[in-house]
Symmetry: C2
Subunit: 414 residues, 2 copies
Amino acid sequence: MTLKEQGAAAKDAARKLAVVGTEAKNRALERIAGALLDHRHAWLEANAEDLAVAEAAGMRRSLLDRLRLTEDRIASIAAGVRSVIALPDPIGRTDRTETRPNGLIISRRRVPLGVIAMIFEARPNVAVDAAVLCLKSGNACILRGGSEAFRSNIAAVRIMREALSGSDLPEDCISLVQDAGRETARELMHLNEYVDVLIPRGGAGLIRSVAREATVPVIRTGEGVCHLYIDEKADLDMGAQILHNAKCSRPSVCNAVECVLIHEKIADAFLRRAVPLLDAEHTELRCDENALALLGSRGVPARDADWDAEYGDYILAVRIVSGLDEALDFIAEHGTGHSEGIVTDSLASAQRFTHEVDAAAVYVNASTRFTDGGEFGFGAEIGISTQKMHARGPMGLEELTSWKYIVCGCGQIR
Amino acid sequence: MTLKEQGAAAKDAARKLAVVGTEAKNRALERIAGALLDHRHAWLEANAEDLAVAEAAGMRRSLLDRLRLTEDRIASIAAGVRSVIALPDPIGRTDRTETRPNGLIISRRRVPLGVIAMIFEARPNVAVDAAVLCLKSGNACILRGGSEAFRSNIAAVRIMREALSGSDLPEDCISLVQDAGRETARELMHLNEYVDVLIPRGGAGLIRSVAREATVPVIRTGEGVCHLYIDEKADLDMGAQILHNAKCSRPSVCNAVECVLIHEKIADAFLRRAVPLLDAEHTELRCDENALALLGSRGVPARDADWDAEYGDYILAVRIVSGLDEALDFIAEHGTGHSEGIVTDSLASAQRFTHEVDAAAVYVNASTRFTDGGEFGFGAEIGISTQKMHARGPMGLEELTSWKYIVCGCGQIR
């Protein structure tokens, strides 16, 4: 099957899926959850082959761990599918109705986007998570996973499609690109006739290359060069706790802070509180000249590239600023529009910061680590959008929908 | 100034514009309205040059008329600017607020998209309409008009920028690409670093080439191959009136019907009512075999291309169908997702049609000509989106916005 044929099949399936009710979708999801458990051995075997190949190729241990499936992990993936069953279905909801002066009744009804393509990297749970969120929101999906998890993804998609074959939903609601080469990824990025939205999930390199290349509509996700600004009037202990949490609780995720900006007047006092916390995780501090003067041998000099780096590791860029204006300018220049935070007790500073910072989520006196669909109360998330078109911030089921206007009349003409 | 420099200037202006209040924006709009009237002679002179060049090049009379400015038209354009002043400002509105179990207060606030690029064709009013809607919604715009209206657009943008220079808003909120060549249009389509959204306005050829080529986020607008389906149980007189209105009231616009699908059981009776109305406008009827058998010499045989044609003229494709299923399949295959209508007295048929047709606006017993920002109550429109991402259907001020989440805490960590 060519990718075009696969696109046409997905589009056809999407048309059927769009008009299926919530109960039928939930039954299909329950079948998928059951099938993933019933056929877990086949999935584990495929995963073992991926692991063997990756190990032979010298993959790092932390990446091998991300790639690995276990009985426990499969149980938790299946539980995740069941939690999506419990979420409210956004499709069919009418969120506006108006009777116009001429008697026309215009209502706006939530509908699926259609066909969602996902390009993602190594973790084998992503194929299931993404397929299930697309299905619940009435969208067919075309998945294209990384080559490292190729056999695992084939097995997962086969299990899910078999589960669908006994349901009211067409199998082609879920399909996998059967070739992990770069050429098919490029073709997918230009499949304008069939793909309504493409969501890349993975590292900054993947996201940027998709955004540069794709002509299908793209939602950029997960690029997070996030800052925390410690204001002159901050509660410094609170600031130190927030910085420690935002940097060290899980440095590999996109909502982790990469750079702290510190008001010059409280820089010394703040660093004396924050550094011992960061020390506990052996966090490397890459400093501008002024911070280095305060930190001495505890810091290392930052290079230009550090101010735009998404480390994903126990590394923090540290910079002293003259005040809020400089912090705002710096964030405007170096932020990726993901999550930005201020620690302050000044209402005026908090208001200016939230008003002027252009990012998906702007924090006052809280850790940027809360930018997450679960923490925001969405129940699940397919990614965190860092663009302004369509959806911004954590994307739950509603962000995977569009709308149509239904206009009812009794013969009105214009 | 290179296009890149222009993009950087627009981005810089957008950052300032995003935090300006409604009153300052309205004052700037009032200055623009006044300036367009005060300097109308300069604008008319530039337009006269465009007209002279176009006439010498043999432009059709109807197109020359679209290109022509008059004192009356300028007065009406200035009145349009003032009507935008009266519209509510979407920016800064908080449309959701939730207190999470951990005490975080998360609110969603409307913000501008940033920099909006517009590529449009001949009419000289579009530059002003687009700039003014962008400004009110807090967005900087980069305009790129057609070469026919090049001098008119330069004059209009110069007048608007001069008006801004005495306001609280940076001049670079509005700028024009100073070269109407194809190469700059292509460059604009790839200006990912500076352009948040590109909206093409014009014929199907322009829209499609932008969608195929652009890597910046695009909103497709105004491709309208719209259908009207006359059901077996329709009020045939109502159907004939609606068809006449939807085809003939203004055939050049995108919400006009291009093709009527008629249930075979009432085809003869319906055509006997509809054709005399269409005759009054000398509407050409391009028919499938069955319709031709009924219409005789009044019709002409349709070719394959007629079923996908956006005529924009007094031409109508006519096709007899066996029922609702065939109509739905035909619309799924040939519609452009703009506006689709059914005339029926059957509730079941109306429900299936509105449920299953995938279009921005789906009509029951009303003319498709109502797909329009003004008719929908939006006060103004920048175009009609025929895609599902971001916005669908008429786009008013709110559709030119995004949101950000403001998260307020008191030291929460995760």
